[in-house]
Every structure is written in C-alpha cells, then in structure tokens.
Amino acid sequence: MTGLAKLRDMGASLIALAPIRWVALFLVSAAIIATASSSYREIDKELTTVALLRREAVARIAATTMAEKFGRIVDVAISLATRVRFRDLVTRGKWEEAIKIMRDVPRDLPHIERLFLTDAKGTLQADVPALPGVRGTNFAYREWYQGVSRDWRPYVSPVYTRAASPQINVFAVAVPVKNAGGVAGILVLQIRVESLLEWINAIDTGRQGFVYLVDSKGQVAFHSRHPDRPGITDLSGTPMVDKLLRGEHGVETGLDPVENEEAIVAYAPVPGYGWGVVSQQPLHASLAFAAKEAQLRRLLTGYGFILLLCVLAIFMASRIAGERRRAEDDRRMKAELEQRVIERTAELEVANKELEAFSYSVSHDLRSPLRSIDGFGQALLEDCASRLDDQGRHYLNRIRSSTQHMGQLIDDLLKLSRATRTEIRREPVDLTQLAQSVITGLEIAEPDRKVECRVQASMVVNGDPRLLRIVLENLIGNAWKFTSRTAQARIDMASFPDGADNRAYYVRDNGAGFDMAYVDKLFGVFQRLHTPAEFPGTGIGLATVQRIIHRHGGRAWAESEGGKGASFYFTLGPFSRPTPQKEQS
C-alpha cells in the first residue's frame, strides 16, 4: 500500500468516526461565537460610548448654561455694587438710601427674591423687599458670608432654606461693596431655586432624561424631575458628587438607587462656582441605547444565520462525505468481489486442469491394460486354441466382451466429461444435416437394419456443433438401438414452437420405449432402464445429452408409452436462434 493510499484510508477512517463531525461543528461554532461576541462587545462599546457621550454633552451644556446664568447674576450684582452712588452711600453707612436705589431690581429680575445689604461683618442693614425684625441680625454664619468674606470676591452660595417666612429654598449671590478703604459692605441677592427651573427647562435633556443641580455643598439644589420636592437632599459623600465637587466630569451607567432604575448618569462641574450638574436618563429610554440594542439584535441575527449556514454546510459536507464513503465502500466491495471472482476462476481453472489431467490419464492409462487383456486373450485364442476346450474359449470371449464394454464405458465417460468442461462455441448449426449424417453413419454400421428415418428440413440453430453432434448421436443412436426389435422401425426428428420465439426439438421412435415411472432416472449417470441383454449401453449417453443441453441454457425431457416408442425433447436456450447470416460474396 502506497503512503498516499494509507493517508486516504486514514482520512476515510477519520471521517468514519462520527465525532469528527461534532468536533468540526464545535470548532466552527466556537469561532463564529467568538467573532460574534467580539464584534458584539466592540459595537456595544462603541454605541455605549456614543450614548454616554450624548449624555455627557447634555451635562456639559447644562453646566455651561448654569455657569452662564450664574455669571449673569454675578454681573448684575457686581454692576449694582459698583454703582458710584450706591458705593458712596454704603461707605457712609447710609443703608436705607443705598437700598432704595435697588428697589426696582427684584421687579426687573424676577429670579431675585430678595436683595439685602450687610456690613462687612455680615450684619443685615437694609433689605428689599423689607422684612420686619431682620435688620441688625448678623448672618456671618451663613455660607454666603463665609464664601464671600474668604477673599472678598463674588460668591454663589449653596442652597439653603430661608430663615424668614416663606421658608423657601434659595441661594445667595454675594458681592462685596468696595471702596478705597476696603470692603464697606456686602450686597446679597437671594435667588429662588425655582428660577433654575426655566433655565434648565431650556436644555433638552432627552427622552425621560432629567437634570439636577448639586451645589457646592453637595446638596441637590434643583431636580428637574422633582421640582417641588421640599427640603434639601444632601448628596455629599456619594462618590459621584465627591468627584463633581472636586471639579471632575464623567459619565457612568448603573443602578440609580433613588429612581430605582438602570440609568446613564453624566456629571459636569459648573466652572467657577463649585456647583455641578448631573444629567441622567433611564437606560431603556436612551434612543442611542435603543438603536444600539437594535443594531446588536441585527448583528446577532446575522451571526445566527451564519452559524445556521455553517451547521448546514457541515451537515451537508458530512452527508457528502458519507455518500462518498459509501460509494468508496461499494467500490471496494466490488473490487473485492471481482478479486474473489478472479481467484475463484483461477481455482476453477486449476480444478479444470486437474480434471483434464485426470481425463487424459483415464483415456490413456485405463485403456492400455484393457487393450492388453483383450490382445492377449485374442492371442490365447489364436495361438493356444488347441489346448482350450469350448468352456475355456467361452470364458475368454466373455473376458473380451467385458473389456470392450469397459472401453466403451471409458469413451462415454470421457465424452460426458468433455461435454461438461469444454467451452461452448456458438455458431449456426444445421441440425437437419447433422441428424442425417448421424443416421448415415448408423446405416453404414448396420446395413441390415431397415429403419424409416424422417428429418424435418432446415432446422438451423445457434450452438456448439461438436457438442450438438454428441447429442444427436446419442438420441438418434438410442432410437436406432431401441427400435432394433421393432418391425417397421421409424425415427422422426422435428421441431415445434416453444414459447414466444424459441423452438423445441424432438427425436421420436416407435421402439421399446420406457416406463414413465422411471422418467426421473432417465437422465442420470449410469442409469439404465433396460438390461444389457435386451439393449446394450453404458447409461451415460442421456446424462451427457442433458449436460450439453443445460450448458446451452436449454432443457431436456422425455415421454414414452411402454412398448409404443419414446420421444426425447430438448430446447437450446435463449441464444439458440441463429443470427441471420450475412450475405457473403
């Protein structure tokens, strides 16, 4: 076996192992799933980034907006505080007059709830609109005072609840009123937290999105989803607010414990004021997320299809491999069968050779001693006749006739064996001519016999002429023999249609016939239905006939009515019709 064939066989046996299919399926599936999950992650990350960036942008816009608004209020406060006359009045302690200048400010700027003046120590000196009983109260504890007094720069305070009624949530913008000598007082604008509402509402926070403001103390200054929530929620200490207060910005996703939902949370500091903006949107409401989900669904569907196709392909491939394997098996089996046929044929040829050798041996070696017996018997009769009496001569004659019978037996056996082993060579044979030649031979051998022989004209068949001659020699010879005691002996040979396109042939005589009870024995070797004294014979002739007929693919049978003759029939099989002879010039 060559290496290639070995490899092929190995491959075949590998394919034959069903698990290889599953291993392949597993590997391909794993590869596809890996690719799918990596691109899933990639796209997920990308689209999440988009969604987060969008949210962060909202937070930044909100923060910028807030910074701008705060800046404007601070600008307003500064422009008020720097009015020359106002500064003058404050410096001179003329608080009432100074505040009067501001009287119209809350009306013009509706966010401003109140506006008051304190001295540099934080003691309220005048307010608009005026509240009873607060003048002279020191507010140095308030954040706005601590914020502004730190470095005497404008300051936006955290949210706080107003001490006086109505106790609403406000924050303060405090600016120092400075003169040449230093800080003369502080102008404080108290601003309603509600005013943040309209500022924030101007920002598009996205579907179900909301924004809340965290002041510099980490308290929720304003919540766009819950604008009316009373009290002040302190969020300082939470990690995100800590980051915000440190001036960091960012975006995260996670469970919002307050809203109890998965949300995208972006945060950005309001630059310059210590505040921060948090922009939040439930995950499910994010259009970008929805788009992402859809995209990922499409992706997964696509990969699912690919996986399905691969499974299908592997299935088909294994089917094809199976087919090929079966074809290969068939081919191999056929080759084996052919090999076996070749071997059997060779064995048969050997057996045939042996049989031939045996026949040869029989033909040659068995006959020699017979010839010796006969020859010396004859010599005895001739040379020693005077010393033999009639009895002795009788015995010698018996010996000689036996040897001759045995010679005939040997010859007939050889004919039978030849009928069995010679190859059939089909050619057109004129049975009519053949029969007539056999009859002529019989007439020459026994010229005293008077037998009326009739042979149907032009019976031509396709068969082996030598073997068919043996058939007719036997059948006509039998007819000749068994009519030897019949007065007006007659032998007919003719044919009749047998089936669609075949013919049966028969040899009929009016001789001794046989008992139909023994018809089964008729064609057996050494079977005789008559004693040698009645009719001589070896019992091999009809066996030979039958074997030749069988070898032609035909069949032989016989009919008889005891004492009224016998008919022997035969057909010559499906190839017996002679092919039309080509006209030869």
């Binding site: 031939e356 010796s372 006969d374 010396f376």
Partner: protein, 147 residues
C-alpha cells in the same frame, strides 16, 4: 530397395503394447525390422545415433516412426518436436500411435508436424486391422521422402 529392408522404429514404453503391436505387425505379414525405443530419450539417441546408439549407422534411417505420446523421460510430443527441428530427421514420417483421443493431443501433434494420428483401439481385432492399414500405407503405398 527391398521393402522388407525398411526399418520401423516403435517408441513404446508399455511392454504389453510393444508385444501386441509386434504381434499385430506379424499378423499382417509385415516382416520388416522393428527397433523399439522404450522412452523418449532412447528414441532420440537412436535417431541421432548418440548415447547408447552411438555405434549405429546414421545412414540407416527408419522408414517410419510409430510414436506413443505418453513416455517416460521425454514425452512423445517433445520427441516429435526435436525430430522436426533436426535437419537429418526433418522429413521422417512420424505416426502418432496412442491411447489418447484428447483434442489437445491431436492439435499439438499435427501442429508439430505429425504425419498421422492413430488411436489404439481397445478391441484387439480392430487394433490388428489398424496396424495392418498403417504398415500397408506407410511401407508400401506411401512414397518416402528422398533420403
């Protein structure tokens, strides 16, 4: 040349057959000298005057060789082949005298150039007749090839 001076070479290993053949020849009044070789090798020695027959006169060629096919040492067909292959014996009449009626033997014998093929009958009377015909034909009727 007297007909009786012609020699017959009988190649026959079976002493019975040898004796019966000689008897048949005598019964047919064929009184020619009959030399007998008992196997194929001896037959060739005789014909080519070699071995045990070294002393034989090579000019004395048998008028006819009666050759059995089944022989010890060298079989009849091989003897025939060598006879036909040698210039000295190429034209010598060879009659195959055997028990075999096998088609193969017939075919091979004629292919190798046998002049005649006779199957020895079991019936001795027939055998005598056959041998008579044989002697009459080859020794009397047939014109031998020029020597």
């Amino acid at each position: 040349m007297n007909m009786n001076e012609l020699t017959i070479l009988l190649v026959e290993d079976n002493p019975d057959d040898e004796e019966l053949t000689l008897r048949a020849l005598r019964q047919n009044n064929i009184m020619n000298m009959v030399d007998v070789a008992r196997d194929g090798a001896e037959a060739l020695d005789y014909l080519f005057c070699q071995g045990a027959h070294k002393a034989r006169d090579p000019s004395q060629k048998p008028a006819i060789v009666m050759l059995d096919l089944k022989l010890p040492k060298i079989d009849g067909l091989e003897v025939l082949r060598r006879i036909r292959a040698d210039e000295r014996t190429r034209l010598m009449p060879v009659v195959i005298l055997t028990s075999s009626k096998e088609e193969q033997d017939l075919l091979k014998s004629y292919s190798l150039g046998a002049n005649s093929y006779i199957r020895k009958p079991v019936d001795f009377n027939q055998f005598v007749t056959t041998v008579g015909h044989l002697g009459l034909y080859w020794l009397v009727l047939n014109e031998a090839p020029p020597r």
